[in-house]
Subunit: 326 residues, 2 copies
């Protein structure tokens, strides 16, 4: 079904208010959720139904644990991952504006940062190249294993172009955690090669997969990326483990590179725009109408929404969202 | 067949001398080639047969085009990609030692940097996290296309562990260019889903693939990574294009991050070592004897070679290498 953008935003804000967020935090979370929802990404308002994402009972102010001219390690004080990442990205941008590079890590949150393409997009819109990594709990098994150890460990990269940035946001898992949650909610099965059940057998049942382990994408390459991004979002940023070794803390890492470190920013953007043209003009496979660059599919969906003021949303999700708002 | 390590190295050095390299450059190139050859990676001495990699006739000294405290852009003066990258990595390490971060880009070479895991491994052995990207010519098509535009665009990441570093080195192409060259030389076919012929039809013939385009790995995710790494190794580092738009210049990018920017290096290495233990101890799929971490398979091969002083090499390759040396 379709709802008006205004209705969707107001309902989402109402859910966030009921989830305990003050208005400034709710506005930040709304922005991150809408970035995904309005681009057809499954990191949108589905996060607010079911258990949802209530504000932690004992939120503390974000604290700086370690800081250098180029870097900071932040204690997130159990804030929303989205509120924390907005702060972290702003700090990394400030450092990159002054020195050409900024890197900020976070620990002490245990909530989703949402679609991390949001932050990479923001960095690229400011004229910088951004790398964003986001850790989480034990969902994904290493290549050759079926015991969940890693998060879905996404990476997003943003590149300025002069126009709309190139933004690429990928999980290193074969399916996103919310992909499983969505399939379970909708009563759908999942592809046969994306997850194992708790006994290490391939499964198409999202509930069995949630009790088992998600696989990494792209064979051993995806597994290696997943393990390295695990290190960047846990071991490097001092996340906390429980006594039994389980993770109780979802770390994050962002770094920002000023193209001016190597070249002239304006001519860089021109060269990227020219590459985009060459890619889009390259010979298409049979049946391919248009070659899309990273981020473009989502931007098309967004354009349609802005033009029509209508957002496509599953009826069941909209009903549950309205219930959560009231 | 097996040859002694000493014989292999001496023969390789002889080929490099005949290819026009002075001894210091030959030693650098030998190190890079052996890193691959002794780990079962296809970026080894196969590069020296056939057209080989003769030193460019008009090599100029490496020049610094732009420099800041954190960064440098280098004009490679048509030097060997390996000689240039060794210099670039050393410079990035110097900057990271002083400031916590160093980034160096290169242009004006048109020769292979070899297995870029070599450089990532070196950076990690020095206690830093390294990201290495290497550009090349038009071999790989964007998702949805069959016209070659991108290089095989590998990325290597090195992470210090206290012991042997974690090193991950992957092409973003479904198969390495030298994988095609090797298959052609050996008269083997290639898998059906890694390349297109010049008309955009999937092909298992390596010659047809070399005249067509290689596909990216891992579907649209691999394609997006390939495009972004293309930007990092060309548009960001000011590579030169011919008037017809073709690339005449293979750029490179390396950046080095000191873990001390965020945490204590020694405790970081301990945490990484503990993660490696958890990964290796995780529940194995049926038929899996051991879970290997990135780089470990190659290190096992290297250990065997060091123990026995014997290197496995295809007889045909060894014969051609000896011919090139004499």
């Amino acid at each position: 079904m379709k709802v008006s953008l205004q209705d969707l935003k107001q309902t989402t804000l109402a859910v966030l208010a009921r989830s305990g967020y003050p208005l400034d935090e709710a506005q930040t979370i709304l922005d991150v959720l809408m970035y995904a929802q309005l681009r057809g990404n499954n990191q949108g308002v589905v996060k607010l139904i079911g258990a949802g994402m209530p504000r932690h009972k004992e939120v503390q102010p974000i604290k700086t644990v370690k800081e250098t001219k180029l870097s900071a390690l932040l204690d997130g004080g159990r804030n929303s991952g989205m509120v924390l990442m907005k702060y972290a990205v702003g700090l990394a941008l400030d450092k990159a504006r002054e020195h050409g590079f900024g890197i900020v890590g976070t620990h002490n949150t245990k909530s989703s940062t949402g679609a991390i393409g949001y932050y990479a997009n923001h960095i690229a819109q400011e004229g910088f190249i951004g790398f964003v990594f986001s850790g989480s709990g034990e969902y994904v098994a290493m290549h050759g294993a079926y015991q969940p150890l890693f998060g879905t460990n996404p990476m997003a990269i943003g590149v300025p172009t002069g126009g709309i940035p190139i933004v690429f946001d990928m999980a290193t898992s074969a399916v996103a955690l919310f992909g499983l949650v969505e399939a379970k909610t909708a009563g759908r099965s999942i592809p046969p090669d994306v997850a194992y059940d708790a006994n290490g057998q391939p499964t198409t049942d999202p509930s069995a997969a949630l009790a088992g382990a998600i696989r990494t994408f792209g064979g051993y390459k995806g597994a290696a990326l997943s393990m390295i991004f695990e290190i960047l979002t846990h071991e490097l940023v001092e996340t906390r483990h429980l006594i039994d070794g389980h993770k109780d803390d979802w770390g994050n890492l962002v770094f920002v590179i000023d193209p001016e470190l190597l070249t002239d920013s304006d001519s860089f953007k021109e060269r990227v725009a020219a590459l985009i043209e060459r890619v889009k003009a390259s010979k298409k496979l049979p049946g391919v109408e248009e070659i899309l660059i990273p981020g473009e599919r989502g931007n098309r969906i967004l354009d349609d929404i802005i033009r029509t003021d209508l957002v496509e949303i599953e009826e069941n999700l909209w009903t549950q969202l309205q219930k959560a708002a009231s």
